[in-house]
């Protein structure tokens, strides 16, 4: 609902170009007009039909492509390099599957996506009220850069492959253009995810920056105070220096207070429990006025027990006013929780596309390298992976695919870290103010923050952080080595058979060998090894 006086610009304002392109290509089904006028993502039936139509056209074209180029694979079948053939067969449809996953999930989630951005807008407004300003303009820049990068990569791969490796004398070869469609659509979809994730990360960082600003402000305030009356120490030191020097109230008193606290402990706990539900009831520690008095930087001691701390304080920094800052910290903490929830919801929306992307990235990366190896050994490779014939195109493809995956992983890792950082910044506030009431608040909120975790995962199979990347890179290398080993072994066996055959033909080794010629190939292997070994 567009408000009469919008406090903040909606995030979706930055998505104009991206939405336009996604709409045309058929990544998102939402209504274009509504988006343009209200910056809202709304369900649209026409969009859904349009998208389904586009999807079916893509599927038909892709199948046509596979059929028309599949004829070249006959030689592959004939040459009996089964490993290459099977891998090619497996990976024929993976691009299509990935694209279909993206589009179908977008169809299913078309209502929820709008809600998600609405929630982000609400969070922005709340942050704005906490004087925590966000700059969304760099997001538009990011989108533009990502789009340009996508176009450059796609077009360079397509054109280079088409010119170098496709026989463009036939008009059917134009179908090759379709081969770029799945990756392109997938990238557009992932740009949505990446940019939204980046926006979340910015919000976390804004919260952290606000907290750090509070700390800085208070430190300035303290130095100002200490500069004001150079005779006394700074506020923080005063609280800690004074009690030992002038604590005439004997231990008696304090111990009684301790006992009193022990007795009242249950009460405090129950109050705290309710505090987590009702945000205005956090830190109900007003029962012990002793703790109040001790903590407050009051120069005169006799009144320490009874003075209301709020009276004799100079308010320069926000942190010195505990009740005021409590409200703010509480709100920030809740916004943090809300952002975490949004992050989880977003992860839920994109969980299947991300899983398919990661699977695609892993398989394609391995396959491309393997086919590159095959191509350097002058073996035939599946026609859909002809870009592996040229090392430079391969490098571009690999950079493009891995760049997509790694960027998403890196971003989710960074977002997760930024959300964890908030707890540390919060504690800094507590430490710098050195105030008992504030400590209570901070401790309470910190426990809450410990439980808000935003860990991005792909359907729960694996978390999206850098350690997964480390594991995956290890997996790719070991699979590659195994594949190359098998390929080598198969090649050696084939060579051995051929050389043995030619050996048979030339030398008059007729008798025993020709009999075995009719036998199975395993026998051949045995013979070759037994024949060859004495000569070594």
């Amino acid at each position: 609902m567009s408000q009469p006086t919008p406090l903040v610009q909606p995030l979706l304002l930055q998505f104009q170009q991206l939405f336009f392109i996604s709409k045309i290509v058929g990544v998102l089904p939402q209504d274009l007009d509504k988006f343009r006028h209200k910056n809202m993502l709304e369900k649209s039936r026409n969009g859904m039909f349009y998208m389904l139509g586009v999807l079916s056209v893509y599927v038909v074209l892709y199948n046509l492509l596979i059929y028309s180029f599949g004829e070249e694979d006959r030689t592959l079948k004939a040459s009996q390099s089964t490993l290459t053939f099977v891998i090619g067969l497996f990976l024929t449809y993976i691009g299509l599957i990935m694209m279909a996953t993206d589009q179908l999930t977008a169809l299913f989630n078309q209502g929820q996506l709008g809600e998600l951005y609405e929630r982000i807008r609400v969070v922005d407004e709340r942050l704005y009220r906490e004087e925590c300003l966000l700059d969304n303009s760099c997001i538009a820049k990011r989108i533009r850069i990502m789009l340009i990068m996508t176009f450059i990569f796609e077009i360079s791969i397509l054109v280079a492959t088409y010119i170098n490796l496709v026989d463009y004398t036939q008009w059917l070869s134009l179908l090759w253009i379709v081969s770029a469609v799945p990756t392109f659509i997938n990238t557009l979809d992932k740009i949505w995810f990446a940019v939204s994730l980046y926006a979340l990360k910015e919000r976390f960082e804004a919260i952290n920056a606000t907290l750090e600003d509070l700390v800085m402000e208070h430190e300035k305030y303290k130095t100002w105070l200490s500069g004001n009356d150079a005779t006394t120490a700074t506020v923080g030191n005063r609280t800690t220096d004074h009690p030992p020097q002038s604590s005439p109230p004997p231990q008696y008193d304090s111990n009684l207070e301790y006992l009193y606290k022990e007795l009242g402990g249950i009460d405090v706990g129950s109050l705290r429990g309710s505090g987590s539900k009702n945000r205005n009831k956090v830190a109900p520690i007003a029962h012990s006025m002793n703790s109040f008095g001790e903590s407050i930087p009051t120069p005169y001691k006799p009144q320490r027990m009874n003075t209301n701390p709020m009276i004799n304080m100079a308010h320069e920094s926000e942190l010195s006013n505990a009740t005021k800052v409590e409200e703010k910290l509480n709100n920030l903490c809740q916004v943090h929780d809300e952002i975490c929830e949004i992050g989880k919801a977003m992860n839920g929306l994109w969980s299947y596309p991300i899983l398919s992307l990661m699977a695609y990235g892993f398989l394609i990366f391995t396959a491309q390298l393997y086919f590159l190896y095959c191509a350097t050994q002058f073996q035939s490779i599946p026609s859909l992976f002809r870009s592996a014939k040229n090392p430079f195109i391969t490098v571009i493809v690999l950079v493009y695919t891995s760049g997509k995956c790694i960027y998403l992983i890196y971003l989710s890792w960074k977002t997760s870290l930024a959300s964890k950082r908030t707890g540390i910044s919060l504690h800094k506030c507590g430490v710098v103010a050195d105030d008992n009431l504030l400590y209570e608040i901070v401790n309470h909120l910190s426990l809450k923050l410990l439980n808000h975790s935003v860990d991005f995962s792909a359907c729960g199979f694996f978390t999206l952080d850098m350690e997964t990347l480390y594991g995956v890179s290890g997996g790719i290398t070991s699979y590659l080595i195994i594949l190359i080993q098998f390929n080598l072994a198969a090649q050696q066996a084939k060579d051995a058979i051929q050389s043995f055959n030619s050996f048979n033909d030339t030398a008059g080794f007729v008798g025993a060998a020709t009999e075995m010629d009719n036998e199975s190939s395993t026998l051949y292997d045995m013979v070759t090894t037994t024949m060859m070994s004495p000569t070594y």
Binding site: P243, Q251, K261, W413, G423, H427, Q492
Partner: protein
């Protein structure tokens, strides 16, 4: 030792000259950082383009040798270029920042030490252990041996042009190791600060222990069971070795306590003991606990410093560890599959194999030290939280008097929980720099080696005429 390493890294252009001053001649500072990489790149591309001076272009070099030499050279180029780019990106700002932060921390630590009356033991802290010197000597020995071996072998082959192949064979690994040495130095400084903080915490902890007994007595205010209490008092008194005379007096009084009449006197005794202890410990107590907020701030600051350091050096760890891994695997592979079978037949091939083995050992040593120090620093930082918890459990007197200290300590431990989730020494998040990394690499290396060792080299060796 650190000085030598710093000079060396300045000499080969890995850190800028005058790195501590922010305002000095820009040109002078970075001249080495431009010259040396240029030299390296000239040597590298010169060998590739001119097809001369490389080991791979010698007639004596067969296909196995050529392959391994190329791998070694390109891996080195990858290592050096990535490390150099990151060093250039870091520039001086980091060193200046690090020093200023460290100076701030040191000032506070000094203050805390004065408060805690720990200055006497400082002399001990500066002195390094035997293991420290031994490690340095060992590392230097290993490096000098590696460099000497490579230089002498290359000099024997190429004469006065040996510097060109040397630049592409050993130099990148040397540069990478020196950068790791810088990392080690910075981490050890951080680790040292953590240790100092821990001693300060430990001091407070000990004081709390000393003051534990009288509080226990004081706590039980109710009447009855005087007898047990009495004996407890005596036990604690003797245990903490407070003036034997008084204790003896107590013991003498123990037997009369059987009578109920002695109630009052024993009460008096209790109060006496309490007062005595209180006055005895009051001085140290009041000085040491005031350190706590400063110490908490310090801990936070040092952790921030570690984040800064890790942000600078962590990315450089990744190519280094990768290079170490690859070189080690190929070192083992060449040693077992080539050198055992045809060792001594081709001197160039032997040289390549030994080069692999030597550098794999050298890089592994450096990597191990990095991991060890990072692990140490982590453990030290964890230990502070443990000690604080111990203090909290003991409920010393200063904590009972007010809520503030309790909340402060709780806040600190909670903050440490957050830190634990947020930070650990790592290589851009790919792997944590601790002993688990060794386990994961060793297991990965084993599986690669099993695959590699199946690789049949006999045909290749035979075709090179090394085997009959």
């Amino acid at each position: 030792m650190i000085q030598i390493m710093n000079w060396l890294s300045m000499a080969i252009g890995l850190i800028p000259l005058n790195r501590q001053q922010l305002h000095s001649n820009f040109l002078v500072d970075y001249v080495m950082m431009v010259l040396v990489p240029c030299l390296y790149l000239i040597a590298y591309f010169g060998i590739i383009v001119m097809q001369r001076f490389g080991l791979a272009f010698l007639d004596a070099c067969n296909s196995v040798c050529r392959l391994s030499n190329n791998l070694f050279m390109h891996l080195g180029a990858f290592l050096y270029v990535t490390i150099f780019v990151m060093s250039l990106y870091r520039r001086k700002q980091f060193f200046v920042d690090f020093e200023t932060h460290l100076a701030e921390i040191d000032v506070v630590i000094k203050k805390c030490r004065q408060v805690a009356d720990l200055d006497k033991s400082r002399v001990k802290a500066v002195k390094h252990s035997v293991a420290y010197h031994f490690t340095w000597l060992f590392v230097f020995g290993v490096f000098i041996f590696a460099l000497y071996y490579d230089a002498s072998a290359l000099y024997g082959t190429f004469g006065e042009y040996a510097i060109i192949p040397f630049m592409v064979s050993s130099f990148p690994y040397l540069a990478g190791s020196i950068i790791q040495g810088e990392f080690i130095y910075h981490v050890s400084v951080i680790s040292n600060r953590f240790e100092q903080i821990n001693t300060l915490f430990e001091k407070i902890n000990q004081e709390a222990r000393r003051r534990h007994a009288p509080i226990q007595v004081f706590d039980i205010e109710s009447e009855g069971k005087k007898q047990e209490r009495k004996s407890a008092v005596i036990a604690t008194k003797t245990a903490f070795g407070i003036e034997q005379k008084l204790a003896d007096e107590m013991k003498r009084q123990k037997s009369p306590h059987e009578d109920e009449d002695e109630m009052n006197t024993s009460d008096e005794e209790d109060d006496d003991i309490f007062d005595y202890n209180d006055t005895n410990t009051e001085n140290t107590e009041s000085t040491s606990e005031t350190n706590l907020p400063d110490l908490f701030k310090l801990h936070d600051k040092i952790l921030s410093l570690s984040v800064l350091t890790n942000g600078e050096f962590g990315p450089q760890c990744v190519p280094y560890m990768a290079a170490c891994f690859v070189v080690s695997i190929f070192g083992i592979f060449l040693e077992t599959k080539v050198n055992f079978i045809v060792g001594g037949k081709s001197p160039v091939l032997d040289y390549m194999t030994y080069l692999y083995v030597i550098w794999s050992i050298t890089t592994m040593v450096v990597a191990y030290i990095v991991l060890r120090l990072c692990c140490n620093a982590n453990n030290h930082s964890k230990q502070s939280a443990m000690i604080v918890h111990e203090i909290m459990q003991k409920k010393p007197a200063f904590m009972l008097s007010n809520d503030l200290f309790y909340n402060k300590m709780k806040s600190f431990t909670l903050q440490f929980l957050h830190w634990e989730g947020y930070f650990q020494f790592n290589g851009i998040g790919l792997f944590a720099l601790d002993y688990t990394f060794i386990f994961s690499t060793v297991s990965a290396a084993t599986s690669y080696l099993i695959v590699l060792l199946q690789f049949d080299m006999t045909a290749i060796l035979r075709s090179e005429g090394l085997m009959t």
